[in-house]
Amino acid sequence: MMSYRLSSQSQIFFALIISLLVAWSLYFILGENSGNILLPFINNSRPGNNHPLTEPTVTMTPSYRYENSQGVLYVSVRLYVNAQPEVVNAAYLSEGRVTASVTGNSYIRLRSSDMTVLYEVPFLTDFRQGEPPVMKDSIRMSFVLPGISLASHLEIDTPQGITLYELPPR
């Protein structure tokens, strides 16, 4: 017959193994907001874990996670080949998914009233559209940014120029 009795050393060993497995499993299904003291180390191996805070004090980077956020800012911009960009629309939405960050030569930034950068997301401007690709004079792009209460200005920074836009009140 199989004995389920363990020695003291084995009990401690297996208890630690099981507790760590339980902890890892719970950690990954609960997400990153667990007050984890290992978070700075784990974040390095989990891209997109640095989720934006609602009241930032430092420049933040956007989230990769497909996760709905409350109170986001919808921005629609038109980019021109030979002119500086134009903000078509900027409005606060009750809920939305923040646009993922990609590498690119252009930036969209949220600035506070003293022009401190609160949020920055790079993007790539490509004026070729359609199949086969045809060069356009202008393209329209939309972004969803976190609704940061301290943000007062929106800045579109492209090789064609920089546009500063005053955000509407929330």
């Binding site: 363990l6 719970l26 997400g31």
Partner: protein, 283 residues
């Protein structure tokens, strides 16, 4: 299902243990199985489990005038082991017969009546001296004291002093198991806290609830214990999902995440089930 206990020693007799275990209050949280064998050299036999605390306590009380036989009860006190099916009458009977082969033993009347309600074979009885009970030969059991006169007045079948497992004994054994659950919570605490307070809250709540439910139910003789323990864990997992469900991110709290919670609770329940089997006896 009986696993081989280490009770009768291989050479046919119990060793006499010289070293005396010390009492430690932390044994309630973490078992300290002592060596199986005989302690003391008095007249009359007290049977205990190989719990260090129980041996220490009985030695302090009876060590001068009684011989103490510590059986392999997986580190539990005798009453806990008997209540939960880790030890039974047969194991104690085999241990005494093993002891009788090598020496004359003084057996309290009530213990004799409980173990041999229809008498013993002559080969064994010639080495057993029956004593009146002025002490409780089975530690923790109620209703075991008797006198020779009581024995003479009753037939063996109607001996009124057989040990019984009463509610008090059941409660005491459950308190012992509860201590082991709390001990496991203390071991789990640090690894879970490393991953955040929410992880610790859910993990420890799950462990505590599965511990409680196993604590009330657990008995080694009730089969299939492993499957029942697994089902208990799933039940606690459902309770956790109802209580902590809103802690899961809305857009990823799919079926896989819920299954993970269920299996975590089930795994913890099975771990508690293993812990309740006790520890190997010290060699």
């Amino acid at each position: 299902m009986n696993y081989p206990l280490d009770n009768p020693s291989e050479n046919g007799r119990f060793a006499t243990i010289e070293s005396v275990p010390k009492f430690n209050v932390l044994e309630w949280l973490w078992q300290r199985p002592a060596k199986v064998g005989l302690y003391g050299d008095g007249v009359g036999l007290v049977i205990v489990g190989n719990s260090s605390n129980e041996i220490a306590r009985v030695l302090r009380k009876h060590g001068q005038d009684k011989q103490i036989l510590a059986l392999d009860s997986s580190g539990f006190a005798l009453i806990t082991a008997l209540t939960s099916g880790l030890l039974n009458q047969d194991v104690i009977r085999v241990a005494i017969e093993d002891l009788v082969r090598s020496q004359e033993i003084y057996l309290p009347l009530s213990l004799y009546g409980w173990l041999y309600p229809t008498g013993t074979s002559s080969s064994i009885s010639q080495n057993i001296v029956i004593l009146s009970d002025d002490f409780s030969p089975l530690q923790g059991m109620g209703g075991v004291k008797a006198t020779v006169s009581q024995f003479e007045q009753h037939s063996e079948q109607s001996l009124p002093v057989r040990p019984r497992i009463n509610l008090q004994a059941y409660v005491k054994s459950r308190i012992d198991y509860l201590g082991l659950v709390i001990g496991q919570i203390m071991i789990f605490l640090l690894p879970l806290l490393l991953f955040g307070w929410r992880v610790a809250l859910i993990g420890l709540t799950s462990l505590f609830l599965t511990g409680i439910i196993n604590c009330v139910y657990w008995n080694k003789k009730s089969l299939p214990g492993l499957i029942i323990s697994f089902v208990f864990g799933l039940f606690i997992g459902v309770v956790l999902l109802l209580v902590f469900g809103n802690q899961l991110p809305v857009n990823i709290s799919g079926n896989i995440q819920k299954l993970v919670v269920l299996f975590i609770a089930a795994a913890e329940s099975i771990w508690i089930w293993i812990i309740f089997h006790g520890k190997k006896a010290e060699v």
